[in-house]
Subunit: 354 residues, 2 copies
DNA sequence: AAAATTTACGGGCACGTGCCCGTAAATTTG
DNA sequence: CAAATTTACGGGCACGTGCCCGTAAATTTT
């Protein structure tokens, strides 16, 4: 680690020297503040372009006396699913990393089965006027509303886990749900023998509003349609989340159709299905979603064969970081950032990075 | 973005105030320099612990007048495989990110088929005395030697892509090769019907020295051994890299054994196998390694069914960054950091993050 | 043409840390 | 016990940027 060759100055001072002005004037040009004659401004801008000046982020952040406020709005983790523990960890990881640099993260939570709680929290955020918002939308109509309010107030926001269909021009970090369904279909296609059937299972209180499930199912069906084998798909919607209802739904389908060999559960509730499937005499292949304790347990004893996962923790982490970079350093917000689609099996789950 | 509530000081100055000394003295304690009485040192250390003081990295980096030199030693990308383009990109990505902060990355390359070139480059690095080294080892004996020299000179180093078997206590970022073979076996097990066989293909000039291939094969075999089905495995080593030799090797096995249904190629040369398999009348399932243009093309037309991949670009990026963090901020070097094992198919390759 | 205002710019401090240099006080040496 | 040396500490500048404040010069108003 050698000493730096000192001597020539760099950054704003170097620009100032070349332009024959003071650093303060260069600063005014960079920040587009007034108080500089057009002539000087042009001269300085030319030099900035010529040197391809990039500000030193360390110095910038150090000198800035601003506190950045970021608000996050995600579901609280419930008994029904521990999925949201992951994103929360991601948020906290990011928080820990940036908090010593004058950034505050304000965490808001809503109940996934309760629209009102979402609206209430959204209102609270708007009142607090943060510098940026990370949102995991669940209730489509209300989410659209909230996002519009943010735009009206000029608050940048990032969506995660699920986008809002039909709306472009916003920043999204999360899975490509359609591709994810396609992939599940591709995987399952290898496992089917002549005459076998596939059962798609949607488990949600509001399936019709659940963009997540619907989009995955679309992708899944699209694959078999492309291959002219739509006929082998059977589908079952289950609107109650308790184990008894789920078991009843699945067992009915299995009795009705003996040749079901693969079950594709479109979300993380796959463990509830596994609890039933485990007790069956015949082997049924189970494909589901998300790296959760309860799912991994069934993966471990091979009741669940594949889990598809999209790094929920990293999603949230990246969401917060992207916002921070955008606000603090005016870095551009990527329009869409699809997370990789990971396939987890008994063999590789131990090295899976959340 | 509000103004920060000014008033109370923070960092070193706050510690100094509480201890009733100057900031310079605190600084001496932090950096373990002499010139402080034991009494004062203890008092200051207590306060540091109490406040859980973490230095401001922005200020630290800004104030430091050191230039950090990092050397990287990886294979040059050849006609035979474009694999090393990925890691190189990762290195350059990291370089771009840190170069404005007084970090210089010096890139050295060797020819994978030429031990001497490796030794020569290694020597050149030692002579340049960098602050850290990122190494992708190929020739085991020579790599061990190089690593020992680094240790002797006190230069921290990180291995990537392949570790050195039997040596612990070094930093490694890359795949868990054994697990990777296990996973391939698990995948393949779903695709086999009664009576089918699996063909393992190793393609390398120095198979016996190639830790990569051997370790993957071990994992693969272990899976079938565990399930009492070792008998279905057939193996073929191919020592020449040209297409004709590869084709000859594969076709011989296929003729000898008509029930081969799955071919597992233990490295990125799978595309050469695909070129042959594509022309066969029957469908053979192909599993191979690495996200390369030539492999993706065959994935796209479904000649290759699965590619296993371990984010080569990210490996290199993380390697450089880990070194930088370690040297510049004396962050700890993780002993082992296994990259996730990703399964790439036609459906998900477009969202794969290298 | 003098006064009031606006424009255009420079000086200088602050952010938190690293580190050189100067100097009283403590200790060792003659 | 004075002189030489060592120890223990404080002062202060630098890193590159942000931004407040002061002030000549240019422009407008009376």
């Amino acid at each position: 680690m050698n000493k730096k060759d000192a001597g020539e100055l760099s950054g704003v001072k170097e620009i100032a020297r070349r332009a024959g002005v003071s650093a303060a004037t260069v600063d005014r040009v960079i920040h587009k503040r007034k108080g500089v004659s057009n002539k000087t401004r042009d001269r300085i801008n030319a030099i900035i372009a010529e040197l391809n000046y990039q500000p030193n982020l360390h110095a910038q952040r150090l000198a800035s006396r601003k506190v950045v406020h970021i608000a996050t709005l995600v579901p609280e983790s419930s008994d029904e699913t521990s999925f949201w523990v992951g994103p929360l960890k991601g948020i906290e990881e990011a928080e820990l990393e940036v908090m010593q640099y004058s950034v505050k993260v304000h965490k808001y939570f809503y109940n996934q089965n309760n629209k009102k709680s979402f609206v209430k929290q959204a209102k609270a955020i708007l009142k607090a006027r943060p510098d940026g918002v990370l949102l995991a939308p669940s209730f489509m109509e209300e989410s659209v509303h909230f996002v519009e309010d943010c735009e009206a107030q000029g608050i940048p926001y990032v969506l995660m886990d699920s986008d809002i269909p039909g709306r472009s021009n916003l920043s999204y970090i999360g899975p490509d749900l359609y591709q994810s369904g396609l992939l599940a279909a591709h995987l399952s296609s290898y496992l089917l023998q002549e005459g076998d059937k596939v059962l798609i299972v949607n488990i949600s209180k509001e399936i019709d509003n659940d963009h997540h499930l619907l989009r995955k199912e679309e992708g899944f069906r699209a694959y078999y349609k492309e291959h002219g084998r739509e006929g082998i798909i059977i589908k079952r919607d289950i609107h109650q989340l308790d184990h008894a209802s789920i078991e009843a739904g699945i067992s009915r389908e299995l009795q009705r159709n003996r040749s079901i060999r693969v079950i594709f559960v479109t979300n993380s509730r796959v463990s509830a299905v596994a609890a039933y499937v485990q007790r069956l005499p015949q082997k049924v292949i189970l494909i589901g979603y998300d790296f959760l304790k309860e799912n991994i347990d069934y993966l471990h004893d091979r009741t669940i064969d594949f889990l598809i996962c999209q790094k929920p923790q990293q999603q949230a982490y990246k969401g917060v970081m992207a916002l921070y970079q955008h606000i603090a350093f005016s870095a551009p917000l990527e329009k869409v950032h699809y997370m990789p689609i990971d396939i987890i099996t008994k063999e590789n789950f131990s090295s899976y990075e959340k």
